[in-house]
Amino acid sequence: MSVGGLTGQLTATPGRFQPAQPVEVPTVQLLGEDGTLVQDPDFVPALTAAQAARMLRDMVLIRRFDTESTALQRKGQLSLWAPLLGQEAIQVGVHAALGRFDHVFPSHREHGLAMLMGLPIERLLGIFTGQESGDWDAEQVRFHHLNMVIGGHTLHGVGYAMGQARDRQADPQADDGVSLIIHGDGAISEGDVNEAYIFAAAYQAPAVFLCVNNQWAISEPVERQSPVPLYQRAWGFGIPSVRVDGNDVLAVHAATTWALERARAGQGPSFIEAYTYRMGAHTTSDDPTKYRDKDETIQWQSRDPLTRAETWLRAEGVWDDGRQARLDQEAEAFGEQVREAVHKVHDPKLEDIFDRVYARPTADLVAQRAQIVSEAAAR
């Protein structure tokens, strides 16, 4: 049947019914793959030589932390580790951009950032030895607890940011901290993460989403998460976004600075996609050779964030063999510290788990604890 010439059928799919087509993906890059500076119309690196050298040092120590921890797992001293090899520039770039009151809501792979923020490494190792579940003062360290439910923490970060904004509204002298929320490419498929974008946009929360797109959610490729580049997903939520080269410490630093300043200025949330590659396994219990092409991994080796930064610093004349040798020594000593730290974590006591469930333990918990204690005494 045809009414007024309308057949109810489309002869072809006209453009107005098409989803928005992905536009060209401009990636912010300030440090080229060969280690030379790249000009960008929007982002100009503003760093002193000392700050730049510090970034290289931080990346080297983080890599050491990671390789030592991976080795500790292989020796059976950690039950699991989530390697961050290849992602050092993101953690260092973010850290260098953070203000002194900003809070980080991390995913489970930001060990290096945690360390740079002052979290004792044994606190992190304790989680992976099964001795604790996050016994640090997140409010003081400003690095919140790891969350193994993918994306669950993104909402906490948004709520916290909403609280930061309210505090400043009530008292202009309150600290100017904002929240940086880190999640991976796989998390972008989770409902909670999408709700976090919605709440952040609805309330213009001073929150920065940093999506570490390392291309693989365990064995699921990023193509299975989104048909459009991830940073473009943010557009649908009304959140300004940018993609940066995640292996470029300068680009990550510049984009994070931009986003944090927007949040601080009351301009609401931003989204950064840090485009990188997970060189290792998702965790030490999976085997990437089963699900991805070896050539792909080899290709990414040439984009190593440490090599790029070192080449650049040498060209700038702020780095040389002598400084490199001293850094190698420092990394060696630090490696020893990591191996020691795993022994500093104390075994928890069964009776201690009962008094932290509620502010005031219930009668049931008091009775169960007493039973444990009396059984131990009788032994």
């Binding site: 579940s133 669950g152 948004v158 916290y160 609280g163 919605i198 609805a202 469930v357 502010a359 219930t362």
Partner: protein, 334 residues
């Protein structure tokens, strides 16, 4: 004509919905860190009008209308509580708690434990629960067992306006997360509210009616049903005691046990499905602790082990006067 209670300035007769509204108003007035947060709670006043006029009084910064996203509501409330606020989240119906289930059971409930007590989350998640209002699917769920089974959560339910007024304020003042179940079929029942001080703490059970033959153990919407059953049983010469549990987690087992020691017979009455429900927990504890005291096995009068039925069947699906009285007869027959 006013009742004697109403001539006293420290009491007021209110419906449960109005009493909850008054309790929320008192909490908002007492502490400016308290925020109400939910879908349609502002100018509409919530689907049951429990938050009516609160946004007008306290402003849209204290009483926030939110996007339609339950995980989002609870998850962001966790973040705000970490920052020192006391969010009170309203979910519209019991059946809509499930999209927020992970945020409640894995996040809200565990944060104190995971952080060794460093993180305190004074979040209240309140929602209308239970059946009996002729509603459609997903609007009549009795979900208390899911949450009472989760360590770290406090699960409470008022059965009358006085408890509604006080328990919501006590829940908001609690340093721990509270699942606050509001028996929707009792929203419009009136009762006297004592305005000067609460009679009981948040976690105390109450003896709603004294008796000597058998104890009915119940909470929320079933308390009225059990009180009616006790009144009917009295006409047949039976003295039935009714214990209103009020707090399912933590459980004030002492008050319950004292009653059952006294009557030596117990029947648990709840709306939720029977298998693995709170009645099983109560029956097990009574058996463990009062085995030699009891004259008859603990009985359960509950919903059936089906999904909640179409509302035309709910009068028979839910425990009603007849089923409770039949259980009293059965208990006394041993």
């Amino acid at each position: 004509m006013q009742s004697p209670a109403e001539t006293n300035q420290t009491t007021k007769t209110l419906t449960l919905a109005k009493a909850l509204n008054a309790g929320l108003r008192a909490a908002l007035s007492a502490d400016d860190k308290v925020l109400l947060y939910g879908e349609d709670i502002g100018s509409l006043g919530g689907v049951f009008r429990v938050t009516e006029k609160l946004q007008a009084q306290f402003g849209p910064d204290r009483v926030l209308d939110s996007p339609l996203a339950e995980a989002g509501l609870i998850g962001t409330a966790i973040g705000m509580a970490q920052r020192g606020y006391r969010p009170v989240v309203e979910l519209q119906f019991d059946g809509f708690v499930f999209p927020g289930f992970d945020q409640i059971t894995q996040q809200l409930a565990k944060m104190r434990f995971r952080s060794h007590g460093r993180v305190q989350l004074p979040v209240v998640v309140r929602f209308p629960y239970g059946g009996g209002i002729g509603s459609i699917e997903n609007h009549s769920e009795s979900v208390e067992a899911y949450f009472a089974h989760t360590p770290g959560l406090t699960v409470v339910t008022p059965s009358n306006p006085n408890d509604g007024y006080w328990m919501i304020q006590q829940a908001i003042a609690s340093p721990d997360p509270v699942i606050f179940l509001e028996p929707k079929r009792r929203y419009h029942e009136k009762g006297v509210v004592q305005l000067d001080a609460p009679a009981l703490g948040l976690h105390e059970a109450s003896v709603a009616r004294a008796g000597t033959d058998v104890t009915l153990i119940c909470w929320g919407p079933m308390v009225r049903t059990c009180l009616d059953a006790a009144a009917a049983a009295e006409k047949e010469g039976r003295s039935v005691e009714v214990v209103d549990v009020r707090s399912l987690q933590p459980l004030d087992f002492e008050t319950i046990a004292r009653s059952v020691e006294h009557t030596s017979r117990a029947i648990v009455v709840h709306e939720a499905q029977r298998n693995y429900g709170p009645g099983a927990e109560l029956a097990a504890r009574l058996q463990e602790q009062l085995f030699y005291v009891m004259e008859s096995p603990v009985l359960r009068v509950t919903g059936y082990d089906t999904p909640y039925p179409p509302s035309k069947l709910e009068a028979d699906w839910l425990p009603n006067l007849d089923r409770v009285l039949a259980a009293v007869d059965q208990s006394m027959g041993y």
